[in-house]
Symmetry: C2
Subunit: 186 residues, 2 copies
């Protein structure tokens, strides 16, 4: 006979308060959002960033910023916990973060991109992942400024994941390889 397991109540989830979140250790990982149009996607990025406690979300170009009711609908308050900042030019931001020692990885299908499982991950590095516009992807300018391009292998008819899903898979995969459990105390 199968055991029956009750779904966790909110108070059983050991969620951090906003103050605890802000003062807690973060994964050395940023998300750079290059001109994403949908505010629902922005909200979803912030929620994923909250879940995996990444250092910062950069909202660039035409990407909308909090406070906005459409962002709140999918961020569900993560816009108040996650550190975010607006930057007008994605490529100038990339150049600045690069000088500051971040490794910049654009999520884009380019000639010579590295398939995600083959990416030579370095647990001592700090990474910034760039995701792009829903239709255009990451701009060529941002691709050129980045250190490398990472591609999620795809096997179907479209080769085009939703950008929130792309960010989710990449953040999960980087968190996994960073051995988050050792870095993020509960």
């Amino acid at each position: 006979m199968k055991e029956v397991h009750h779904k966790l109540l909110v108070e059983e989830m050991e969620r951090l308060t906003i103050d605890e979140f802000r003062s807690s250790d973060k994964l050395p990982l940023c998300l750079i959002v290059d001109s994403v149009r949908s505010l629902h996607n922005v909200g979803s990025f912030l929620r994923t960033a909250d879940a995996f406690r990444i250092e910062k979300v950069w909202l660039c170009g035409i990407t909308g910023t909090p406070p906005h009711s459409d962002i709140h609908k999918t961020a569900l308050g993560a816009e108040d916990s996650v550190c975010w900042e607006y930057a007008p030019s994605t490529s100038q931001l990339i150049e600045r973060l690069s000088r500051e020692g971040w490794q910049i990885c654009a999520a884009e299908q380019v000639a010579g991109s590295t398939m995600l499982p083959d990416f030579p991950f370095d647990s001592q590095a700090r990474y910034a992942i760039v995701v792009g516009n829903e239709v255009m992807g990451v701009s060529q300018e941002a691709v050129d400024a980045a250190d490398c391009c990472i591609e999620i292998p795809q096997f179907g008819t479209k080769h085009s994941l939703n950008v929130s899903v792309t960010a989710g898979i990449l953040i999960w995969e980087f968190a996994r390889r960073f051995e988050y459990a050792h870095r993020l105390k509960r």
Copy 2:
């Protein structure tokens, strides 16, 4: 000096035609969608299912089905490649698939759920992942019918990923552990 890499043109992506997709090998993986309200999420599931060539998407309960313009907006045609079917009762579907030899894993935070990295994956098994409603999650009835519950570890203030992101991370992680490259010929 950095090399400049051009973004791949659609014709360089080696995308399958719909006929090629339908006759191609699939990962032994299904997605069961338990009463998801948003048609954008349904479209996103289909797009992810297309990308990783999973066997089938089951749309259950109040979940909407193609054809629908809001599903098409996020599925972008994946509703025509991916095998999908509607089932009124998630728990009855789970019982049927279970009898047919599928291992059923609900994506839910329950007492005694298995953290994703600790899941004892068996590359010889066939898996069906259950994702649930945006607010309620996977129903208790479906949780009870499933073989196990898998939880994506989360470290922030919310402990609630967007359901499209949850499905994306789980499908990616199962595809990775299935060693998709050996199973899915390009």
